[in-house]
């Protein structure tokens, strides 16, 4: 059972990491969501014991660990909230840039650097000119 959980979590993490590295921003978000599922699965697997529901008063037989369930629930909620936030960011960016690939973002960055470089060279030239 442990091995099954470990393998599934590893596969999920690998698939998520693969998507994270892609150029399409939407795939990146899906990758984040899948990685979050890998973490949730690991949380559940961190305390697997066969037992009855831990409801007060506790029976004599072994009970299953409620803590890992609680942690998994919290992690699911947080993961969903963060995924929603990421989707909103991608939506904003898609609206402003009219594209959703990382290349366009990078292009924007390069253009900005070039502008900055030109402005700097220009300001230095004008300074030297005024010094003369």
């Amino acid at each position: 059972m442990n091995l099954l959980f470990a393998l599934t979590a590893a596969c999920l993490f690998g698939a998520g990491a693969h998507l994270l590295l892609s150029r399409d921003l939407f795939r990146v978000v899906v990758g984040v969501a899948i990685v979050s599922q890998a973490a949730v699965l690991t949380l559940i697997a961190s305390a697997i014991v066969r037992g009855v529901a831990p409801i007060h008063p506790l029976p004599d037989e072994p009970v299953s660990d409620p803590l890992s369930q609680a942690m998994a629930l919290t992690a699911i909620v947080i993961g969903m909230a963060v995924t929603a936030l990421l989707l909103v960011l991608v939506l904003r960016l898609t609206e402003t840039l009219r594209s959703r690939t990382i290349d366009d973002l990078a292009e924007e960055e390069v253009e900005r650097d070039e502008r900055l470089e030109r402005r700097h060279a220009w300001s230095q030239e004008s300074e030297e000119a005024s010094a003369r």
Binding site: V32, T42, L43, M71, L86, L89
Partner: protein, 454 residues
């Protein structure tokens, strides 16, 4: 205990209320500042009224210890909580004085304060994760503040990278629970000693990656320059001055507090990574032309010093790491706030910051460097490394000073006092800490004592 409860509840309630109000109105911004100031005041009350050991703790909901979530305010956590909230409040005051651009800014900043306050003071591992995620969610929203395409792109990168970092952290949390069967940090520290060494090393690596990403250490730094230069000065100041403290706190608390044997094992690696960070950050900062880019790379270099200090370890090393983190947070907050303002006074403040980054007296950075030299003095290679790092930072900081402040002012816009007030006050604080460092040193040594278990 009342003061501690107030410190937890006040920013929560205030943040939720302020988020729905229009933060562009001055009064809402000042209410946010008041909420943060109230939180800082109640934390100060906790720190001053604490018993001799300096630790105040209680278990939420009056549950028996081990069942409920424990809140434990020890000197180490209190120092980081107060530091992060002070830098956060400084950046928020700066933005309110300049005029807030978006309505959610004050509310989200106060919620970030709630998250920071919680994660520095909790003694429960999963509770730490929840506060960690809360603080980061607020930071994600802040990182797109300004809503230019550049800010949104930077925010997306920041969010994606850090979300993966926190899930790596969560994987380590799950493994800790699996190995030790508890989430209470003190109990974990005790039970970790009997754990399978392989599992413990894997857990330690997970924590290191998670906090390294947060801190922007050398191999995990790739997101940092884009984010720090893409966002507005106030947001960059918040991210580097208060959110980045989580990384240093995490490395110290989890490394020195929970996994001391693994930390000792990895000491050499940590020093090497820290050295790489120092050199990489320094060299790239020299090649940069704008203040914000220089500061972003400088941030990568400066956290390298913290990692070297942690790697050296022992009470001296941990104290040096704490002192350095405190001073670095103040430096970075102040310098990022000055990036878009000019004038003779701002130039003077920038010089104080530059001297502090390089570690030249009388600025506070000298004290940080002095503590570091005290910790590494018997290793000539590290002494050389620190001197090279200091020279690099002197070079890049004054290069930017020359570009930005050593030229005739380009525009004749009337000088406003609002944008200058906070950097000038912070500059005075940095100078003050440099001239009278005893309180900071004493507090840091007490905090380091908590970590090394004395």
């Amino acid at each position: 205990m009342t003061a501690l409860s107030i410190a937890f509840l006040l920013p929560w309630v205030a943040g939720v209320v302020l988020v729905v109000l229009d933060g562009r109105r001055g009064i809402v911004g000042w209410l946010g500042v008041a909420a943060l100031a109230g939180t800082i005041a109640s934390l100060a009350v906790v720190a001053l009224s604490a018993p001799a050991g300096g630790t105040v703790s209680f278990t939420t909901g009056s549950w028996p210890a081990g069942v409920g979530i424990t809140i434990r305010a020890d000197p180490f956590g209190l120092l980081f909580a107060i530091l992060s909230l002070v830098t956060l409040a400084a950046a928020v005051i700066h933005e309110v004085l300049e005029g807030v651009r978006e309505q959610e800014f004050p509310g989200v900043a106060v919620l970030l304060g709630a998250g920071l306050c919680g994660l520095f003071l909790t003694a429960d591992l999963f509770n730490f994760y929840v506060f960690f995620e809360l603080a980061l969610a607020a930071a994600y929203v802040l990182s797109v503040y300004g809503r230019t395409p550049r800010a949104i792109g930077a925010g997306l990168l920041f969010t994606a990278v850090n979300v993966v970092g926190t899930f790596v952290f969560l994987l380590s949390v799950a493994s800790v629970y699996r190995v030790t069967g508890t989430l209470d940090m003190v109990a974990i520290g005790e039970r970790m000693a009997g754990a399978d060494p392989n599992a413990a090393i894997l857990i330690a690596v997970g924590f290191f990656v998670a906090f390294g990403v947060k801190l922007g250490l050398f191999p995990f730094h790739f997101w940092l320059p884009t984010v720090y230069t893409g966002s507005r000065p106030a947001v960059a100041a918040i991210l580097s001055g208060s959110v980045a403290n989580i990384g240093a706190y995490g490395l110290l608390r989890f490394g020195a507090g929970l996994l001391p044997r693994e930390l000792e094992l990895a000491a050499g690696t940590l020093v090497v990574i820290g050295a790489a960070s120092i050199v990489y950050g320094g060299v790239l900062a020299i090649s940069r032309r704008t203040a914000s880019e220089m500061l972003a790379y400088s941030a990568i270099g400066q956290v390298g010093y913290v990692l070297v200090a942690i790697g050296i370890g022992g009470p001296a090393g941990f104290a040096a790491a704490i002192v350095y983190t405190v001073i670095n947070a103040l430096n970075k907050t102040m310098l990022f706030l000055t990036t878009r303002i000019r004038g003779p006074l701002v130039g003077a403040v920038f010089v104080i910051g530059a001297l502090s980054v390089a570690g030249v007296p009388p600025a506070a950075g000298f004290i940080g460097k002095l503590e570091l030299f005290g910790a590494v003095h018997d290793d000539p290679a590290l002494v050389v490394l620190l001197i090279v790092g200091a020279l690099l930072s002197l070079l890049y900081a004054f290069q930017i000073y020359q570009y930005d402040h050593w030229v005739a002012p380009r525009d004749d816009a009337p000088a406003r006092w609002q944008p200058r007030a906070v950097p000038i006050v912070l500059g005075a604080v940095i100078l003050g800490v440099g001239l009278w460092p005893e309180p900071l040193l004493a507090v840091s040594h007490v905090a380091a004592g908590v970590l090394s278990g004395r």
